[in-house]
């Protein structure tokens, strides 16, 4: 026998109805949050009648603040459709599926919009009217899917129940008999916890995208951190190193009495290596290296530079360093030859500039001083008036003691700055 559970109202939490069903049977098929299909085979030993079982289902749902309606039938289709249509408890007798479904509206079969429109034009309103059509004739006109629809309307099952696996939590906790203070003994304990955890992940073809660790301290506080490397990893040694490096940078305030590790699973992806391209670094090694540069990464001072879509001078972004495979054809790009580069001063250095005949003649700024021997400019730029407006006149100047610099006049403030050295 099968059971259908449905809640016409919003659920207090997404998995509430599934949790109710799992209290009765492990074979549960969740169709979105609601309805839920239960395989009730074998429960006849615990409940004398189907009505008793149905009432128990509704009572269990009510205990979880779920206003549920239930249907028990000998086919899955009938149990699901009747549960959605009829309030309270409905028990469909064996062989009475078609009769139970017949008066119900056709929309309960979750038809495609085109099918719904077509059946409305044919004058079909109830499931019983659809069930009375010959399946072969309907298949000839609308295809095999329509024939299957007739069987569903008659309360007949096709296929098998696909049980929804219960959500897995990759979490492990170790209560310590004696408090641990140093990182060295902690390393052994972490290995002991991480190896089964990563093993469980690997058994499900998954890796950990992040690892949250909580250390219960002797002073009853909790030291909690979440590590999220650029790439998922399923290697216990890597995670142990990352946790230890993180703890080195942020030491717990007191001795550790409890360790809890929680991994966030993500499907492991196998990468196809290329024979002719250089090997990409292993994600584990890259994550370890970046963790060792914690002083730079924690302050947001490491990553890949990125250009941003703006004309504002000196604008750029820094993204996390996660190199991907080399795109096809990239290596065919011809070399560009050496270019003059700007060595940017951040922030630009305030300068005193003597202008002669509209051209900078002398520049003095911290670390930069000299008479201008040649100048190229002015190049005017302005923009971002809606945000942080800028308007400037830019010059490339060569100075007598040596060096070429980019200077600019901030037209909004009326001040000169040295933006950087041309090198």
């Amino acid at each position: 026998m099968f059971g259908g559970l449905h809640s016409p109202r919003a659920l207090p939490e997404a998995g509430a109805l599934v949790a109710v069903a799992r209290a009765f049977t492990p074979r549960v098929e969740a169709r979105a949050p609601t309805p839920v299909l239960l395989d009730l085979t074998g429960l006849g030993r615990l409940f004398a009648t189907p009505h008793e079982l149905g009432r128990a289902l509704i009572a269990a749902a009510a205990a979880r603040q779920v206003d549920a309606q239930a249907a028990l039938a000998f086919t899955r289709e009938a149990a699901l459709v009747v549960a959605r249509a009829c309030p309270g408890l409905t028990v469909v007798p064996a062989g009475g599926e078609a009769a139970a479904l017949a008066p119900l509206p056709l929309a309960l079969l979750d038809l495609e919009p085109e099918q719904q429109e077509l059946f409305a034009r044919w004058g079909l309103r109830t499931i019983g009217e659809l069930a009375s059509l010959p399946p072969s004739a309907l298949a000839a006109r609308l295809g095999l899917a329509a024939a299957r629809l007739v069987h569903r309307a008659r309360g007949e099952d096709a296929g098998v129940l696909v049980a929804t696996p219960p959500p897995e939590r990759f979490e492990t906790t170790l209560e310590l008999d004696w408090p641990v203070s140093g990182l060295e003994p902690l390393a052994f304990l972490l290995s002991r916890l991480l190896e089964p955890l990563t093993g469980a992940l690997a058994a499900r073809g998954a890796k950990a995208a992040s690892l949250a660790y909580e250390l219960g301290l002797a002073d009853a506080t909790i030291h909690a951190r979440t590590l999220r490397p650029a790439m998922p990893s399923g290697d216990a040694r890597t995670w142990r190193t990352l946790v230890l490096l993180d703890l080195e940078a942020r030491r717990p305030k007191d001795e550790i009495v409890r360790i809890t590790l929680r991994a966030e699973p993500t499907p492991a992806r196998a990468a196809q290596f290329s024979l002719l391209d250089p090997a990409l670094p292993s994600p584990e090694k890259l994550a370890e290296t970046l963790a060792r540069l914690d002083a730079w990464t924690a302050a947001g001072r490491s990553g890949s530079p990125r250009l941003v879509d703006t004309h504002r001078p000196g604008a750029f972004a820094v993204a996390s360093f996660a190199p991907g495979p080399l795109p096809r054809g990239r290596r065919d790009a011809s070399p560009r030859g050496p270019r003059v580069a700007l060595r940017a001063y951040r922030p630009p250095r305030l300068a005193q500039v003597i202008v002669r005949a509209g051209v900078p003649g002398f520049v003095a700024a911290p670390g930069v001083r000299g008479t201008v021997t040649a100048a190229a400019g002015p190049w005017r730029a302005s923009g971002d008036w809606w945000d942080r407006a800028y308007s400037r006149e830019e010059w490339d100047v060569a100075l007598v003691p040596g060096g070429a610099f980019r200077v600019f006049l901030d037209r909004l403030r009326g001040q000169w700055f040295v933006e950087g050295e041309l090198d």
């Binding site: 890259l286 060792r292 250009l307 030859g337 700007l342 940017a344 670390g367 190229a376 490339d396």
Partner: protein, 279 residues
């Protein structure tokens, strides 16, 4: 409602009048395709093609090394013919090399060319920049694949010269990057740091030399004057040789190029003229 007749069985096999020969290419409609054109190549043929491909690739010095190849045999070319000749192929792997020169001598342009060449080949590069001088727009214009460049930026310093602590942190980061063995080029930009690099203990550079030995990485220092170079490394000294503008001073005048003289070698100095185009 009457049932419509079911369709006939689907034609799983082509009828005898259908030609199953492959269609002619789109470029030449109606062309007759010879029967041997569709014959798959034999195993021996495939093997020969693959071996040719591998052999050809091995002879291209600018391509990244193959997985099984000895990395240390391949110098890190800058992609600038004059410099690569001067450096006997490029900066060697497993050695500490340096590029030094005064302001506007083209040292940053040369370093960016090296990083561009390295990243364009698919390898990774790291730049430790304690003074935060890198301009990402210049790096992109030089052809660097920014996704493959790890940039470690120093903190903002109020004075002209960085604190000794910043440089010590930078050398520590270089040691981490070299030890990781992930990067083909690890560069440390010390240009503009004044005399601070010379004040660092000499053991710092010896330690870095030892770390980079027997790795695939080439460690390159960028400085104003000579700081350190391992015995097998290359020291490239650059001197400014003038700027070229597009015309007389005026609104249409552009900075066209920067000329530099490059010298390399120990007791036998070699020189080359170098021109860096303005962006």
């Amino acid at each position: 409602m009457s049932a419509a007749p079911l369709p006939a069985a689907l034609p799983w096999t082509a009828p005898p009048d259908v030609d199953l020969a492959p269609a002619a290419p789109c470029e030449s409609p109606g062309a007759v395709v010879p029967t041997d054109a569709v014959t798959p190549p034999s195993v021996a043929e495939r093997k020969r093609v693959l071996e040719n491909l591998l052999r050809a690739r091995k002879l291209q010095a600018d391509e990244p090394p193959l997985r099984v190849e000895d990395y240390r045999q391949r110098a890190l070319a800058t992609g600038v013919p004059e410099l690569d000749t001067l450096l006997a192929g490029g900066f060697p792997r497993g050695e500490l090399s340096e590029i030094h020169g005064p302001a506007s001598s083209g040292r940053t342009g040369v370093l960016l060319a090296l990083l561009a060449r390295t990243t364009a080949a698919g390898a990774l590069a790291a730049l430790v920049d304690p003074l935060d001088r890198l301009d990402p727009a210049s790096a992109a214009a030089a052809g660097i694949d920014l996704e493959r460049l790890l940039w470690l930026r120093g903190p903002r310093v109020s004075g002209e010269e960085p604190q000794a602590k910043t440089l010590a942190e930078a050398t520590k980061a270089v040691a981490t990057l070299v030890g990781a063995g992930l990067f083909d080029v690890v560069a440390l930009d010390l240009a503009g740091a004044g005399r601070e690099p010379q004040r660092l203990p000499f053991a710092t550079w010896q330690r870095l030399e030892r770390l980079v030995e027997h790795t695939k990485s080439g460690l390159v220092l960028l400085a104003e004057s000579h700081v350190a170079c391992s015995p097998g490394g290359r020291a490239l000294a650059l001197e400014p040789a003038g700027l070229r503008f597009s015309g007389p001073p005026g609104p249409a005048c552009l900075l066209q190029s920067l000329a530099a003289r490059a010298r390399a070698g120990g007791h036998r100095l070699r020189e080359a003229e170098l021109t860096l185009a303005a962006v």
